[in-house]
Symmetry: C2
Subunit: 351 residues, 2 copies
Amino acid sequence: MAAAQVNKRKRPYGKAINLSHGSGGKAMRDLVEGLILPALGCELNSPLEDQARLPISLWESGGHMAFTTDSYVVDPLFFPGGDIGSLAINGTVNDLAVGGAEPLFLSCGLILEEGLLFTTLESVLSSMAQAARSAGVTIVTGDTKVVPRGGADKLFINTAGIGRIPAGRQLSLMAIQPGDRLLLNGYLGDHGAAILQARGDLALEAEIQSDCQPLHTVIAKLLTAAPNTRCLRDLTRGGLGTVLNEFAEGAGVSIRIHEDAIPVRPVVRGICELLGLDPLYLANEGKLLAVVPENEIEGALAALRRDPAGEQAAIIGEVLPGPAGRVRLRSHFGGERLVDMLVGEQLPRIC
Amino acid sequence: MAAAQVNKRKRPYGKAINLSHGSGGKAMRDLVEGLILPALGCELNSPLEDQARLPISLWESGGHMAFTTDSYVVDPLFFPGGDIGSLAINGTVNDLAVGGAEPLFLSCGLILEEGLLFTTLESVLSSMAQAARSAGVTIVTGDTKVVPRGGADKLFINTAGIGRIPAGRQLSLMAIQPGDRLLLNGYLGDHGAAILQARGDLALEAEIQSDCQPLHTVIAKLLTAAPNTRCLRDLTRGGLGTVLNEFAEGAGVSIRIHEDAIPVRPVVRGICELLGLDPLYLANEGKLLAVVPENEIEGALAALRRDPAGEQAAIIGEVLPGPAGRVRLRSHFGGERLVDMLVGEQLPRIC
């Protein structure tokens, strides 16, 4: 692993972040060249250039370029199943993937608080490098800023991503039609519950792992099995409930989901009951919702279930003609209730 | 201006940022659709998609894609000559431009502190929109996070940028050769001095304006006049002194600059003397250093001087064969001193 090549005993860049590491001068160069670039395995990027030069030949068979960005401010930095580093890679990879893009290149912008320990930074960078390798993306350019103590909370990461959308692929919520089915790739709410637990807000025996994972491979399989898939969305902040409302409103349709069909781990359901949370609004970092035409839904389900990221995949509902914008949940007992967008906030700094 | 279209009296998104604006739910959507997208004039970006879809035809005549990122944490948010919004556009535009790229698309990642006033956010977004229009770039994708009070200082912005490098253009410090001349496009240190003044650290009558400006237009003129220009660099954190050292070390050459030739405003020179700062290390946000072969230097100088961003351009030094990595300054009195990289930090949160 690239991070192992960093000589941790020597740490020529110091023991903790100080303001000189953001100066643009010698200390910053020592940090960037001595720790950040080797830890991230940035080979394409010359440390002396402020921008990456990328080959355009990747697009010679046509298609589009996908471009996205996310900042990550999760608290705590480390949680069961991931940390801010793996989140910053997988989150942006997934934003590209749900647009139908093959993720290719990432940027990495770090905002560090004075006093941040290098052991912490090293762990996060090593995790980023590992997540990038797993997802097959390359970090090609970056930036490091340092703010005085109290000006930020430890460490924030921004990643922007570039991907390739193959020619002819067009996923859009405008393509959603009555009769389409809704497909979810697994348990809902694991990330939100893992963060709650990592904050010490819960006294639980069972450890809940975040579902933080890249989704582009399972999405590629899904799109092969169900080429007329209408659209995809990852279920991060705001959760399933919010995405369903965006779909219903954007496409001018009604959506019905079935409580019994939605996979939620018993421990997560228990936490929700305890704290008065709704798993429909819990954040996920490795879950996607696909809208698939009815004649392709069984193939799509089978394709998801053959992938480790989709073993618990389930068909959770269907698209109805109207009333436009309305989302309903059919409960275990047969009644129906409206599902609104998330109003207010559920958990700050969840990602 | 797009920002003017925002109905400031109504503010359906609230009066100040609260945690629900980062929830992923309804309040966040109201903020993004009610304020951020109209203020930034984001037309390419569908508010309901997490990624932009960009045409690849822009590159059909070949060349490369440039990709860069920077986070902006400047304190204070507003200063004479600019603010964090114009800085976040121009800084990333310039990182693309000094690589020889035509800037095209930007992303915008906002980290907002709970309690940030909407009047502040509106001003910053309006400034971003104006700077983007001036520079001819489009903000095509974005992200908004909110952290609880005390978790960040008011407002941080990350922008990543994509540009097009024309086929055959290759700027690199490895191309620097003995005999080349150094060209600077104007007064050194205005941004650093403006920030110092805006912080109230100085009791001065004269107002110093930051030089915050986009450089791609003046760079295009320079490259037409001097097509064999070796390389370019913008002189941000670390200042001229640090870039000279990077050039000398990277290219294995020696560099000599002439104190009398370097344009510094008397008021900036006065501040430096007062505070014990060296203008060679002050940050700039609209200054570039070009390394140009001797036979093209007069044309390059004339081209810069014809542009508003280069009226005070000057030839400030030359490249010598060795000793490798050494930078010397010939002083007003004829003596010489070594110019090292910036060691320690000069001014935190300068950009």
